[in-house]
Amino acid sequence: MSEVKGVAQKGRFKLFLERRKPIIEDWKHTFYLWKSTTLAMVGTVIIFVFFGIAIFAPLLTSYDPIAQDLDNRLLPPSSQHLFGTDQYGRDVFSRVIYGSRVELWIIFIVSIISVGIGTLVGIIAGYFGGAVDEVLMRITDMFLAFPRLVLAMAFTASLGPNLTNTIIAISFVDWTVYARLARAEAIKVKSQPYIEAIRGLGAKNTRIMAFHVLPMSISPVIVQLTLRMGTIILTAAGLGFLGLGAQPPIPEWGAIVSDGRSYLVQQWWITTFPGLAIAIVVLGFNLLGDGIRDILDPRLRR
């Protein structure tokens, strides 16, 4: 009996593989395109290194990023302190390494909140249309009317400058893009015959939106999100530099750059290395985003 069962299971697995074959082939083709796009590959490597650094931060450095050591302040880069030390004797290398965790955390939370708000608003506006659409989209327009950084500054200034409020502020500025994308997709999807068919079978609005409109509208939002991750870091670092973001002693890259700016001429290393980190990671995200867009573009695919 057990043998028969085994054969049946193997059959199902084989069937499963066979059915997935086109998808696997498609992935192979994507991988090939990725390999032939050098810049996308560079971006991917940078981002993976960035993730790796954030995950393995304690293994890469033995210094505490926050503990002060006033005997060793303002030391230039050496084998002891790879990036030198700052005015409180903190190891800059270790601060940059741990800073990647802060940036990653900001990206993660901002993505969840802004994509959440954006798709919710966008799908409701697109699906119901009419007055609901008009009201929600005018609110979105109000958010879009302000320069992003200025609006984010206003939010943090009024909420009080700290890391949580920075995240909230960036999320509240960033959701508009996703709202517009999700709305456009929802309008396209809601006029499809299968939405009418499922309504004819008695599905409620909430069900249609959650199970039938959302899955169809989410993919452009996700592509846009990968394209915007660099911008999220830049905004967070900008706020940090202006003293409106993460507060000392949290090792946020923008804040570290700001810390060292009065020592810029003699002790260049305090600002330069975190600044380079920001530049490289943002470049990485932009290259990856461009690469993803090119690779997923159906006109360039075949």
């Binding site: 015959p193 299968y194 008695g202």
Partner: protein
Amino acid sequence: MRGNLLDITKLKVVFYTYRGVIKALNGVELWMNRGERLGIVGETGCGKSVTALSIMGLVEQPGEIVEGKIAFEDKILTSMNGDALNKIRGNDLAMIFQEPVAALNPVMRIGFQIAESISRNKKKNEIKQVYPEVRRMLELVGLDWKRTIDLYPHELSGGMAQRAMIAMALSSKPKLLIADEPTSALDVTIQAQILELLDELVKKFGNAVILITHDMGVAAEFCDKIAVMYAGNMVEYANTTDIFENPIHPYTRGLLRAVPKIGRTDELESIPGVVPDLVDPPPGCRFHPRCKYAMDACKEKFPSLLEVGPEHYVACHLYLKEEMKNAN
């Protein structure tokens, strides 16, 4: 009520467009009994599909039901709100659409979509019975469930997709199934199979069917009764045999003369002219510009529905006049 399942009185539906107000339905009268098969025939744009959508409560912006009443059993559908309608849709009413592949969600497996319509009628503790039911429904519509349950709609042929749609629609055991041109997008051999399947399932479930079609042959084969529609009006309503053997309305006669038959040697006649623009429909009887028997009365007043024989109704001044002549 004239029929014990469905009774539509003076249904008017309009669509607001930039070009003006399209008077899509202009006082449609229709009724049917439980377990009956009613065919609605007519040209493209005569309001067949809008009638079906009105019954389902799916007329949406920019469309609106401005007048009239749709009674379904003891409920008045036209005065119900969304939630109450949702309870009836998918339980007592179900619909099959013209393009089966487009009417299925392209990113969901067939099995899941059928399960969705079954599970809405189940309680929490009955969830385990949903998939066996899905398999049973797939077998019932002649699909091999092992092969099809995990497929996506684009992997099915048109005929298979329509079978899956029928499974979805019938899974809730509706009292009335509306089939909006279910075979128009399929090729002829598959058409026959789908109609046969529908016939068989309707016999089994005993539900009423409204079959919307522009194919007189399909209607003749499948339906007990036929309603002929023209430009937003029901112009003739009778048993299938009466319609074919004794058509009264000039439009019905014209339609029947335009049907090709094997062994027919005379030239096919067509009805001169085209369907009127419904933004600015002709006054009176909407058929009068194309009718060779048109009289002055036709241009002034829409004729009321008259019973001219047992279960045979027609809306035409011509018959009214003849009636009066005979009386004199």
